[in-house]
Amino acid sequence: MSAENTVISIKKLRKEFKLPHQKISSVKGLFTNIFALGGNQYESQVALRDINIDIKEGEFFGIVGRNGSGKSTLLKIIAGIYNPTKGSVKINGRLVPFIELGVGFNPELTGRENVYLNGAMLGFARTEIKSKYDKIVEFAELERFMDQKLKNYSSGMQVRLAFACATILAESDILLIDEVLAVGDADFQRKCFNYFKKLKKEKKTIVFVSHDMNAVREYCDRAVLIEDSRIIKQGKVAEVASAYTKMFMKENENSSTEDKIRKKRWGNNDLKIEKVLVTPSSVKQRDKKIKIEASFKVNKTTRNPVFGFVVKNAAGTNMLGTNTKLWGIDTGAFEEGKTKTVTWTFDNMLNDGDYTIDVAAHDSESAQEYDWWEDAVGFSVFREIHADYVVEPTFTTDIRH
C-alpha cells in the first residue's frame, strides 16, 4: 500500500450469508431446534471471497459485475449496512451511503417534510437543511408542489426530488452510488451524467456500482470486475472492460453444454442451426460492415421457412434485427439432409458496448419454431470516444457561413 491517501481499504474480505435450512420464525421451530441437539441448522452461502481493494482519495472507482455477482453486497459492506464475515474494511473520511435515492421517503408526507426526513437520514440537522432548502427545490423544479404529499407526485417528480436532495446535501468525502442510472427518464439520466461530471471535477472519491460497462468506462479511473463472488480483474478501466466482454464471449462459447442450450434455445429442430459466425467480432470504427452467417442443417423438408436475427445490447434491449418474412422474401424449398447458409450484412451504427445476437428459423406462419437460439454469438464495438447515444447513423453536417 502506498503512502497516498487511501480512503477505503478492504482486506481479505469474506462475506457469508447464513441460509437456515428452515427459517425458524416460530416458537415451535425454536423448540424443535433446541432439541435437535447440536446439528448445524445453517447453510452458508458465500457472497464474497478474498476481496482486496484500495481506493485512493479522489478516485472514481467502478465495481462491475452481473446481477448476483456480489457487487451490491460489496457496496453494502462498504456502506456499513452489512458486516463482513472475515477481513476488514477501513474508511477514512465522511461517507454518505447513497445506496439508493430518497432514503426514508414517506409517501404520506409532503415534499417539504420529505426533504427534511431524507436530510436527517444523510446526517443533516434541520437548520442545515433550511439554508439549502431553496436550492433543493429549485434544482428539482418542484416549487409549486412542495406542500403536496409525495404520493401525489409522479414517479419522475419523486426521482427529481430525491436526486435534488442527494445532489445538494451529499457533501461528503466519499460517495457510494448504486445503479442510480437504472431509474428515471432520459432527461433525468442526463442530469445524472452531469452530476457525475461535476463530482469528478471536484475530485471526490466515488464508488460506483453498475452492470453497465459504458457508464463505468465513461467515468471511472479504475474498476474491479466481480463475478461469482470473486474479483476477476482489477485495474484500469480499459482492461476491466475487455475482461468483462471476454467473460460474455466465453459464456457464449461455453453454451454448448446441454444445460445452457436448453435454457436459451428451443424449437423442433426441423431446421437446426449448426453454427453462427459474426465478423468482425470486435468492431473498432463506425460504419464498418458486420456480417452474420448462420448455417442450418435441414432435418425435414420444408418450404419457405422464415429466417431472422436480433441484435441485443448488454441490458437485453433489442437494438436491431430483421427476418425474411418482413421483407417478403420467399426462401424457397429446403430439402432434407442439406446444409444451407443464411448471411446478413449491415453497416454498423451501434455505439460502443457489448452485443449478442439471437438467430432463429420458423415456419412461414410463425406457428412453429424450428430453432430459436438466444445469444448464439456476440460482438463488441470499441470506440475511442464514448457518446451518449445508442446508435449513430452516418451524418452529414453542413455549416454555411
Partner: protein, 263 residues
C-alpha cells in the same frame, strides 16, 4: 460528525415524522391523544367506581384509577410500538447504515409524548380532585425515569428478538394481559394477603405505579416501603430495571449487526 449527533438528528426527525403520521386523515388529529384516555377513563370510572363500587381505600378513587390507566397505557403502547419497530423499518435498514438503537428510542419517545399529553389531562383532574402540592411531587421525576428505563429495556429485547422470532408479538400480548392483572390497576394492593403483596410489589411496574399514586393522589396508598416496612426494599425492583436495560442493550447491540440481513 460525531455519531451521537447523527443519532440525535435522526431521533428527532423520526419522532416528528411519527407524530405527524399518527393522526393523519383524522378530523380531530392530535386531540385524540387527549380524548382517548379521557373516554377510557370515563368508561372505567362508570364501570368500576360507580357500578361495581371498587374501593381502593383512598379518598380519590377516580384519580387513583385514572393515573394507573394512563401509566399502564404508556407501558402497553411503548412496548407494543417497540416490538415491531426494527422489522417495520426493515426497508431503511437495508439501505442505509445508522445507529439501530435510534429506532427503538424513537418508539419509546413517541409513546412518551403521548404519556406527557395524557399526564396534562391527569393533572387537571388531580388539581380538581384536590392535591397537596409540596416537594414530594419531585419524586415523579425519578419515577418516570424508572418507567422509561423499564420500557426501553423491554423494547430493546423485544424488538431484537422479534427480528428472529415473529411470534414474540403474540407472546407479548399474552404476557401483557397477565401483567395487567399482576399490577394493581383495577384493585387495591391491600385486598391481597401479606405474602402476595410482597411478591406483587417486586414487579417494577407495580412499584412505580404505587409510588406515583402515593406521590400524586393519596399518601394512604400502600407502597413497596409500607408493604415491607422498609423503604430500602424499593432498590430491588429499581436495580432489576437497571440490570434489564444493560443486558437488553448488550443483547440489542450484538444482534443489531445482522438486522439488515435478517429483517
Amino acid at each position: 460528525m460525531s455519531k451521537y449527533r447523527y443519532a440525535s438528528i435522526l431521533l428527532k426527525e423520526l419522532v416528528i415524522t411519527d407524530f405527524k403520521l399518527r393522526y393523519q386523515n383524522s378530523f380531530l388529529g392530535y386531540l385524540w391523544s387527549v380524548l382517548k384516555p379521557l373516554f377510557l377513563f370515563a368508561i372505567l370510572y362508570i364501570v368500576f367506581i360507580k357500578f361495581l363500587r371498587v374501593d381502593f381505600g383512598v379518598k380519590n378513587s377516580g384519580n387513583y384509577l385514572l393515573l394507573a390507566t394512563v401509566i399502564w397505557g404508556f407501558f402497553a403502547e411503548g412496548t407494543g410500538l417497540c416490538i415491531g419497530s426494527i422489522v417495520g423499518k426493515g426497508d431503511l435498514l437495508r439501505k442505509i447504515s445508522f445507529p439501530r438503537y435510534v429506532v427503538v428510542l424513537s418508539s419509546v419517545a413517541s409513546a412518551a409524548i403521548n404519556l406527557f399529553l395524557n399526564m396534562l389531562v391527569v393533572s387537571v383532574f388531580l388539581v380538581v380532585g384536590g392535591i397537596d402540592f409540596d416537594l414530594r411531587i419531585l419524586w415523579i421525576i425519578p419515577l418516570f425515569i424508572e418507567l422509561l428505563v423499564l420500557v426501553l429495556g423491554l423494547g430493546f429485547v423485544l424488538s431484537a428478538a422479534f427480528v428472529k422470532l415473529r411470534d414474540i408479538s403474540y407472546l407479548w400480548d399474552v404476557v401483557l394481559q397477565a401483567l395487567f392483572y399482576l399490577t394493581p390497576i383495577l384493585y387495591s394492593v391491600s385486598i391481597l394477603p401479606a405474602y402476595a403483596q410482597k411478591i406483587l410489589m417486586m414487579n417494577p411496574l407495580a412499584q412505580i405505579m404505587q409510588d406515583l399514586r402515593y406521590v400524586l393522589v393519596s399518601t394512604e396508598s400502600p407502597t413497596i416501603g409500607t408493604v415491607y416496612g422498609n423503604d430500602l426494599y424499593r432498590l430491588i425492583p429499581i436495580a432489576g430495571v437497571v440490570i434489564l436495560l444493560v443486558v437488553a442493550a448488550l443483547y440489542f447491540r450484538a444482534s443489531s449487526k445482522n438486522f439488515a440481513e435478517e429483517v
